[in-house]
Symmetry: D2
Subunit: 425 residues, 4 copies
């Protein structure tokens, strides 16, 4: 049997581990939603974002549809209407409730969604504990947990976008003020050569990280840390948002059309720039990495700084030699943190997703899986750009050096930031 997604057959202890991880990941979603009332969990702030309640139900639908309906004889669906209602985009499964209308689904309410989750959890855990799930389904459970972790991050960023529209600046989680500084940014050089890119080794990975393949890369340098708010303020003061020569054509059109003059969530109060955070409205801290910028802004900044964005291969090349550690969601901060005084490569993982200039495309030899799960990644390989490294809202343990995140170039509601690169000649 061929595993759709990487990782070898699991041993007995792996089985135990899957059950434990199932409990842990599913519990983490509920912990994120716990402070939120029905009012908070229901609306949708824009078509790209989804309600908290929807994330909780859709991740459950994933297990119900791809595990229970396929591999649990006699399983009775919690509500057959959910098959359509909580299908995100799997055409092979069938019809989907219109994405822009997710915020109109007042029923099921949050109590009913909790019951739905329990209904599915009981069935999955029953199968896992009985050891009656075939290897293929076990690998789909594994995929479902990584899928759920992705939605945990989206739950946070979508909630931030919703709360960010509210003039009362709601607090989701209090955050202690951190007072730190950012080290001087330096350049980390890499030599020209043939390198291998993409996932290797055991461990889970998404299909889009494979196959591992050879790439020829010219000599380059990568900045040792992301751009900070302080640097961004300087860009703004030097009319960065008003100089078309710095911008890609589509980026400049976006600036004009949408009136961008600062990152998303920034607002000027009495002449001082503030930003909405999940701890409420706070003055912008110059030492923190800048975040909530589109790739257009990232690219314009790079032009301004006489540099460029890295390619995803360049980024991976550097990151592969670094430990996967940083300010992830587990820190509880849910906001980027200043790098501190330490020098050397900093913050490749966590804090902010780093825009690359690479279009999200299939690797040489890539083939999507057959069936509905083949829709997971492959069909989005158009018009989006790759981001790397995870953010302060990414569950710990979810990312790795080969991990490819992707968003449209004008997206700003993720914790996206920018790290510079430049040619080395």
């Amino acid at each position: 049997m061929q595993l759709l997604y990487g990782g070898g057959p699991m041993t007995g202890s792996a089985a135990d581990s899957l059950t434990a991880r199932y409990r842990e990941v599913r519990g983490a979603t509920e912990a994120l939603a716990a402070p939120l009332a029905g009012e908070d969990q229901t609306p949708q702030s824009m078509p790209d974002a989804s309600p908290v309640k929807w994330h909780r139900a859709h991740t459950t639908w994933f297990f119900e549809t791809f595990v229970l309906e396929k591999a649990a004889p006699g399983y009775v669906a919690f509500d057959p209407a959910y098959r359509v209602l909580f299908n995100s985009y799997y055409n092979a499964v069938g019809e989907q409730y219109a994405r822009p209308d997710r915020g109109l689904v007042t029923r099921p309410g949050i109590a009913e969604v909790a019951r739905y989750r329990k209904h599915v959890d009981d069935a999955i855990l029953g199968l896992l504990e009985a050891g009656s799930l075939a290897e293929e389904s076990r690998s789909v459970v594994e995929l479902g947990l990584h899928h759920e972790q992705q939605h945990q991050e989206l739950l946070v960023t979508d909630l931030k976008h919703l709360f960010g529209q509210n003039p009362l600046h709601p607090v989701y989680r209090e955050r202690a003020e951190a007072s730190a500084s950012a080290p001087e940014s330096k350049w980390h050089a890499m030599e020209r050569g043939l390198y291998e890119i993409g996932h290797h080794g055991e461990g889970f990975h998404f299909d889009n990280e494979a196959p591992r393949h050879v790439a020829h890369i010219e000599a380059f340098e990568l900045a040792t840390r992301p751009i900070t708010n302080g640097e961004w303020l300087e860009f703004m003061e030097r009319d960065g948002y008003a100089r078309p020569e710095l911008w890609l054509s589509d980026g400049w059109a976006a600036v004009q059309t949408r009136g961008w003059n600062a990152p998303e969530y920034w607002t000027s109060c009495d002449g001082v720039w503030h930003q909405y955070t999940l701890a409420g409205l706070r003055a912008v801290d110059p030492a923190e990495p800048v975040t909530h910028i589109s790739v257009y802004e990232a690219d314009a900044y790079a032009s301004y700084a006489a540099a460029r964005l890295p390619t995803e291969a360049e980024w991976e090349l550097v990151a592969a030699a670094q430990p996967v550690a940083g300010n992830f969601a587990a820190s509880g901060r849910l906001h980027p943190a200043a790098a501190g005084d330490e020098t050397g490569l900093r913050q490749l993982f966590g804090d902010v997703w780093e825009w690359t200039r690479s279009a999200y495309s299939p690797y040489p030899g890539f083939a999507a899986a057959p069936g509905a799960l083949g829709e997971y990644n492959g069909k989005f390989m158009a018009n989006q750009l790759v981001l790397r490294g995870g953010s302060c809202a990414t569950p710990a343990g979810h990312v790795r050096a080969s991990y490819r995140n992707f968003f449209y170039p004008d997206a700003r509601w993720q914790f996206s930031g920018v790290r510079l690169a430049r040619d080395l000649r």
Copy 2:
């Protein structure tokens, strides 16, 4: 002192009556919202509709802004941010939170809104019971109660529109199936002559119902009952939605653009027309008045039936001689009912608002009140048409023969229906 809105000075018992009515009307709003969870009360299904929670807060804001802030020395606002957040359209009061974004206001939640209502109710009732409110402010309280009754109807129709988007067809209130028939429609004739139109007598009325004025009206006939679903089905079967010669030009454009082929909320299940109601999805009852139609549809039907829509003056002329009784919200049905076998003029009041062909314009001699409350009605006198008679969602006692409701010609989410008229020569 000049009263902004009709009605003479109130005596002692009127004072008691105002206090009692305040309790009653405010309580009625809460009773409508009581079965609804935070999830149900928060989203907004379209810019024209508002969340249930918003209706509860905005009606409270009305009393806070126009009574307490003006006439209650030392009153402390519940939350100063609400002044903007719950201002609907009063430019003279100041900025307004963007109407299309009302569904994004997750906070305050419904518990907080309940506290807001209590805070304001305590203050108003304190003033009323102390007898310390000047006549002018008392008349604003009176206006505020009629304003709140209007929002009670909107709360119901907006909720229906929201629930109507949900494929699960939520039930707001169970409704027993009624089995009744509709009498044959006949014609009620009126002679040519000079008539007085507009409000007269004591009792509250909105400024747009005045001044009472003389109108010359040609002889005409008004149908004894509204058009039924059965008659509408016949219109549909005879290709009513596909024959441009029946339609106003703008109406035909709406049919094409929006794909209208039946009233709002109608859907065909296995070849049988059903309609979403606040008691869930039900088969269309041929004996009930048709509802949720635009004036374009009403006008096309009139053309099809070789008749026309009445003018508002014609309608008022006939209605003024009838008792104000019918299927209002108090019946608990929240759905139009069949007229039954009785003949004669039926259902002028209640069941469905009846579209007229009259543009919503100022009566001769009309002048809007000075200040913010002058924005209540006058500034909407463009592009809308008048509807008359109240509906199954109108609070009992709220309408009268001179009452002018008004909506844009393409609006379908109110309980709007059609009664025919024709020239008598």
Copy 3:
């Protein structure tokens, strides 16, 4: 035989007169187009406007479709494809080429359109001169000539809108600078009473001017002249475009959405207001009537001036006693002129169409004609307002006191202006 449009049977000399008028009116259209190259006659500046070439072809189509196809045995269509291509909005005739795409029809070119006109003219004139056209068709020819005159005015205003987009400010026709003044505006009073409104007597009229009917009108005053540019500049200086309390709600929304801060075609050059005219860009003359305003602006001005717009019945009542004379297209000026020093009622006819507050609705007893020509007026009786009196682009002899023009409230590209009214108590 019943005539669709007013006027008794024509005698022999009327027959001669019809032939002569046909030549005259058709020639007048060609004279308007003569200075315009193929480039000028082809584009469409907005969906509401049509190319010059289209006006020339569509008016020809009218005679071909409603006269020749019906009443000329053996007539061979110039090009059968034109039946669709130049049908404006007659559903009963069949399909129509999409209105917003009229500017994409490069072929037929202007030479071909001229041939089309000659082909149809030859056929019509042959029938007229042979005296072989039945009375009914003769009345359709009469209607076609009035129809063509309406399109002559639209040809001018649509061309102005097209040229008005061109930064080179093209000159269509040179115009000598006139230096005149405007008299003080006074009030012309009318008594309360029962009046007859609508067309009467012989002579042509459109169906929407009938039936003549009785209306009760309260005492009122009408201004002796329209508002001037000088008065409008004062309105602007006093923040007229920035004070929401002056505006209808939909009007204020239009101001916000479209950024209106002056009439259409006005632009400030070095601090001096200029306006694009068909003679090029000129400094605004304070003595001329203001023009190219929406009814929203007219209404806001009236609020600012503590007055109101007249109803169409009020306007007609006053105008019916005045001679139909003024600055029409025949003056060659194609621009409003200052009233001069003479006092008394001025400029009711010509110069600028005067917005009324009356919705364009059917008169009591109105019935549209059967068949395609019934679509001429009746189906537009929704969402538009009535303007009265003709403009500097109206062919002389085309208007009369009972003439009802109609446009959507936000339309600004016609020569529309404002004359105030007020209640007389």
Copy 4:
């Protein structure tokens, strides 16, 4: 002095050659426009397309702005307003007339545009013939000629789009029916290896074709010819436009939103598929390469055929070994031709631009030129995909193996087609 665009210093004969080429290229534009009247040259069918007249003026503006204004002392602009009016997108030059409104510029007419061209041609040729132009300006003239050739192709495709909206199906140029067949498609294999990609050698090239750089390419096969209409019809018959599993997510959304069910310009007449061509409406020829498809359609076809699109590097690798010959604009056909019976690699150049799956991105080491001309290519390196090989509307001699054309993925009005590739393992 550094040349902005490739090619070494020109010798004397090169100088003569530049003068001759200037005459030739400028004349070719006028030859394309010659059969078109003012009506044809003026309208704009969509924001992405431009009027013929505009292409003639803008290409002239290019020489005026970048050569004459910089290097011709005493040059007097033909009309200073043209600096804005005919600036396409060069922010460094200044303001630009709004792109979507290009079709509203009736003046200057085509005669005036011809005078403008002559005015500039006289000045340029004077300088060229006097030998008084510095090397840098000569290289800008060279660039201007390649720029003009690009606009020659756009002139043809934009005209086709305009004529394609006309229900009369105008004929731009008669075309003899060709009766040919297409050979069986085979696979041309390439081995895995390190290759050099990008322009090399002398001769002109655009900045985006450089620097030449090393790429590692896996073994692959390229189809010997593009997909034909016959194959596309089979795709349609097998429900290719109705099977979401074949489509990229954004592609499927485009199919739904725009109702695509066939290539652009295809229409079914009595059950037979026809396509609008510059020789009028013709039955679809199964042997010709399919054209006017988006990359979404190309990609869906590749999925259907169990293949994929080539990368631009793969395409270039194969094409670099082939002669640059094929069905270009010089054939006069302006329509793709069937390949004929010959086997082997066919039609890499000419006929149809071939979509690749490569995002239009900078090559490693790419740097845009400083100043306005740096806006030529670099700022468009977002959201577009690369097409290769030229088409039946490309001027002969304009393309080469390293030439990178680029359009948005949903663009269909270019002569775009598809050639398959697949992995070789």
